[in-house]
Subunit: 365 residues, 3 copies
C-alpha cells in the first residue's frame, strides 16, 4: 500500500498537481483534490419539487401479484419458510408515474386470508387494503383487483394489512417497494445511479422454519427476537454490492418495513436527505446517519467523490448479524469502479516488546 | 360498492365535472376532484408563531390532582391494577394560556411517595417536581401545591418523577396531558378539529395484576415486555373513533409518555408536522409517519380531503396488539362523517383453478 | 425555601423591579424577569456556517491510542471487565482543526484483533478502519498508524470496527469522541461552556464480568439486555455534575455509540439543535428532547436563564437505571453556580383526614 501510494504520488508530482505529496493528499480528486473533505457540494442540491396539481395521465399500468407460501434464503445456508410474491422476497418493484391508473391483481394462494396496503399513497378508501376496515379479506384462492390513480411522486411500499396476521405475514416476506415518478421531471434531482434499499427483519428458528411471530407477546420481548436482517431480501455478505463511479450523484431510496429502527450510517461521505415518506424536505439536511423508523421511507443522495469500498450499514450493530454471526445483516457495500477487490493491506509495525504505559500521547484532551 | 360508485359516477357525469368516470376518480372532491392526490395544500400552512415575550395574564387557574391506587381496563376484559388521577388514566387534561398562574394541588393517596414533573414547561426550579433534586418527595397522605406561570404555548405532559419509582408509577398510569394556548392566537393555525393522543404502554400480568416494572433489568429485556398499548388510556378497538368532516383541517396533539418509540403512520393522507415538544418548526415538514420517541410531543395537522375510514397507527406492529391478539393497541380510527360504518366489500373474483406461475406481470421491475 | 424566596421578593420589591411578588415570579432574570418562559432567544442563534473549501493547515497532530484489556467501574461498586484506551473509557478526546494532518498510532495490546473507524470523518478509504474491507485487522501486539487530513468541523466518534467482534469491543469500551474545530471561527456559535456527552451501554454480569455480547442473538433479545448506561463512562450519580452560570450560552456535544436509542430530555429549558452528525442544520430547531439514535451525534445549545439544578436525561426510563436500581444511568445534572447543593424542601401540608372523592377540580377538561 505504502508502495503503490508512493508511485501514485510520484505521478501526481510529475503532473504538477501537488507541491507536497503524502499518502493522505495523494488521491486523484479532480479539480479540487480536497473536495472530499466537505459536504458543501451537497448543500447546493435543490429541494425536490412537488407537483401541485396531479392530473390523470390516461395511461393504465397493470401488475399481478401472486402471493403464495414458499421459502427464502436471506443468506446462503439459511433457509426459511416465507411468503413470496411472484416467487421473491421482496415482491416485484411497482414503478409508475403520478396520475397513472394503477391496476394490481392480487392472487391469494396462501392458506390464510390477506389484503394489501399501499403504504404512503393517497388512494380511495375502498382501495386502502385494510382488511376489516376498508375491505373484506382476500380469502385463500380468491383474487382481488386494486385500482387507483397513482398519487404524488416518491418512495413507498406495499405490504400485508391482514386483520389478525399482518405481523406474521410481513415477517414472512409479504411486501415490496413502490416508486412513483413525477409527471414532470423539471427541477428533480438528476442522479447518475438510483439504488433501492428495502429493509426487513426475520425471525428464523433453528430448524429452518419461520417462527410464527417475533416478539412473543403476552410475556415476550416485543419484536426483539429478530435474528436476520435483509436489504432487498438478502443479508450481508449476500446482498449484491453497489457499484458507483467517481463523480456520480447517487440516489438511494430506503424503505423500512421491519418493526425495528435502523439508523443507517454511511462511511467516508455525507449524504443529503431529500425526502421523507415521499415528501420533499424544503430544506434538505446533510448527515451521515439516517434513523429509519418502521414505516418510514427516505430518499437520500451522495456525491461519489472519495474512491474506495465503503460500508453503508445499520448502527444498531445487532442488526449487522446473521443469527449469532457478525458481520452480516444490514451492511451494504458501495464500491467505486476500479477499486481493488481486496482490502488494502497497510503494513503494521510490530509493537514494542514492552508496551508503553497507559498514558496517552496527544493534546486537546 | 361497485354499484353505488357507478351511481355516483353518473351523477358526476351529469354535473359535467368529469368526462371519463371510473371507480377511481368518482369521488366528490370539491373543486379539484384530484386534490387528494397531493399534499400540496399542506405546504401552504404557515409555521406556528411563537410569543416573543410572555407576560403574566393576572389570571389564576387552579387544579386538583387526586393520585391514588385503582384499576384500569385498557381494553374490555383486561383489568390491571393502576394509579389513577381523579379516577382516570390518563389524568385530566390541564389546559391554560401563556402567562396564566397555574396552581396544582397534588394529593398523594398512594402508599408510596411521588412527585409531579411538568414535562416541557419552563417552571422555577423548586416547582420542577424532581423528587430528590428539586423537592422532597410527596409522602403518602401529603399534599403538595405546585405554582408557576404557564410558559410558551404548546403540547406538553405531566407525569411522576419519583426518585426511585418513576418507571413503575408511569407504567401504572401516573400521567396526563397539558396544553398551553398562546396569549394571542393571531397567526396560529385555525383548525376545525383538535384531537389529543396520549400514547402509553402497560405490562399486565396474567392474573390481572400490574407487573412491578416492565423490562426486568439486571438481566432482562429493557422495557420490552410491555404487552398493552393505549391512546388516551384505551386500546383498539376500545379507543373512541375520531369523526371528521370533509374539508376539515384537523390538528392532532401527540404525547408519548411510554418508554418505547412509536412511529405513527396515517393512511390515505399526509400530515404536516407543525411543532415538536411545543416548539414550532420554522419549516413545517410533510410526511405520513412521525416517529414519536419517549418524552416527545408533536403537533400535526392534516386536511380531510379523502373520505372514508382510515387508520392512524403505530408501525411497530407489536404495538398494535392486545397481549397476544392483533389488531389492538395503538390504532386510531378516523372516520369521515357519512362514511359507512361497515367496511366496503368489493367483490373478489375466484382465483383461476390453476394459479399462474410465479412469474410477475407488469413493468418497471 | 418559602422563607428565602420571601426575602428575595422583598429585595426585588425594594429594587422596584416588580409590583407584585410571589414565589413564581421572584427569580432574578435580568432585564426581562419573564425571559425564561420562552425559547425565543434561541431562535436568534444563527445556523453554524460550513467551510466550503478545506485546505491543509500544514500542521500535524499526533496521538497514540493504547488499547488493552482492563476493568471499568461505571458506577461505584460495579466493576466490569473492559477494554480501555490509554487506561480509560471512553478513550481520550481527539480534538483537531479542519485540514490538520492527523496521525493516530493504535497499539493493540488486546488478545484479539481490532481496527479503528473514524465515524463521520471523510478519510481516504485505506484509513477508514473497516477490518476486512479497507484494511487487514490489527493483530494482537501489532501497531497501526492511521493518517488523514481532518475533514469538516463537527462532533464525531472513533470506535472499533473489528470484523467479527465490533459489538463486543464497543460494548466493552473501545471508543472515544473526536471533535474537529473549524478553520475559521467566524460566524460560529460563541458559547460560554462547551460540554461533551458520550452515551454508551453496558451488559455487566453478576460476577462483575463483562458479558460477551448483549442481546443473545440466535434466539435472544437483540441488544436489549444492557443494564448499565454511561455518560462519558460514568452512570448517575457518579457522572460529574455540570456547572453553568446565569446567562451562559451552553453548547453540548452528544455522541451515541451504544446500540440503543436515547431520547435526551432537558428540564426547565429548551435547547436548539445546531448540527447533526457534524453537519449544520440550515434551520436550527428548538426542542426539549432530542432522540439520539445509535451512530448519531448532535450539537445542541441552551441559554442558562432559569437558575437551579436541572436534569438532562434519557426518557427511555430503563436507561436511567443502574442494574435494577433507579435512578441511575443516563442522568446528567446541570447545576447553576450558587444553587443550593441540597434539594429545596417546600412544605407539604398534610392531606385532609378524609381525602376528597376522585372528582377533579379544574377546567379545560
Amino acid at each position: 500500500m505504502t508502495l503503490s501510494l508512493t508511485r501514485l504520488s510520484q505521478t501526481l508530482l510529475l503532473a504538477g498537481l501537488l507541491l507536497q505529496v503524502s499518502p493522505v493528499e495523494a488521491q486523484p480528486k479532480g479539480a479540487d483534490p480536497y473536495a472530499y473533505l466537505t459536504a458543501s457540494a451537497l448543500a447546493k442540491i435543490a429541494p425536490l419539487p412537488e407537483t401541485a396539481a396531479i392530473r390523470p395521465t390516461g395511461r393504465t399500468r397493470e401488475f399481478t401479484l401472486d402471493v403464495r407460501p414458499g421459502s427464502w434464503e436471506p443468506v446462503k445456508g439459511v433457509k426459511a419458510s416465507a411468503i413470496t410474491i411472484n416467487g421473491t422476497v421482496p415482491g416485484p418493484l411497482i414503478r409508475v408515474a403520478e396520475g397513472d391508473r394503477v391496476v394490481v391483481t392480487v392472487k391469494n394462494n396462501l392458506e390464510e386470508s390477506t389484503s394489501i396496503h399501499w403504504h404512503g399513497l393517497h388512494v380511495p378508501n375502498a382501495m386502502d387494503g385494510v382488511d376489516g376496515l376498508t375491505q373484506e379479506a382476500i380469502k385463500p384462492a380468491q383474487t382481488f383487483r386494486y385500482e387507483f390513480l397513482a398519487s404524488h411522486a416518491g418512495t413507498f411500499m406495499y405490504h400485508s394489512h391482514s386483520h389478525a396476521r399482518a405481523i406474521e405475514q410481513i415477517d414472512a416476506g409479504l411486501y415490496g417497494m413502490l416508486v412513483i415518478d413525477p409527471q414532470n421531471s423539471r427541477g428533480h434531482l438528476k442522479s447518475d445511479r438510483e439504488l433501492l434499499m428495502m429493509l426487513s427483519a426475520w425471525n428464523i428458528t433453528e430448524d429452518g422454519g419461520h417462527a410464527g411471530m417475533a416478539g412473543g407477546h403476552g410475556g415476550g420481548a416485543g419484536g426483539m427476537q429478530y435474528n436476520y436482517f435483509t436489504i432487498n431480501g438478502r443479508a450481508y455478505p449476500d446482498a449484491a454490492e453497489w457499484a458507483v463511479k467517481q463523480g456520480d450523484v447517487v440516489r438511494i431510496r430506503i424503505a423500512n418495513v421491519s418493526n425495528l429502527v435502523h439508523p443507517m450510517h454511511l462511511h467516508g461521505h455525507d449524504f443529503v436527505v431529500l425526502a421523507k415518506d415521499g415528501e420533499p424536505l424544503k430544506t434538505p439536511q446533510t448527515m451521515n446517519t439516517v434513523n429509519v423508523a418502521p414505516g418510514e421511507t427516505y430518499d437520500i443522495a451522495f456525491i461519489a467523490n472519495n474512491p474506495g469500498a465503503w460500508m453503508f450499514h445499520c448502527h444498531e450493530l445487532h442488526h449487522t448479524m446473521n443469527g449469532s454471526t457478525q458481520p452480516g445483516g444490514l451492511i451494504q457495500v458501495i464500491r467505486y469502479e476500479g477499486s481493488a477487490a481486496v482490502p488494502a493491506a497497510p503494513k503494521a509495525a510490530p509493537a514494542p516488546a514492552k508496551p508503553s504505559s497507559g498514558a496517552g500521547h496527544g493534546s486537546g484532551h
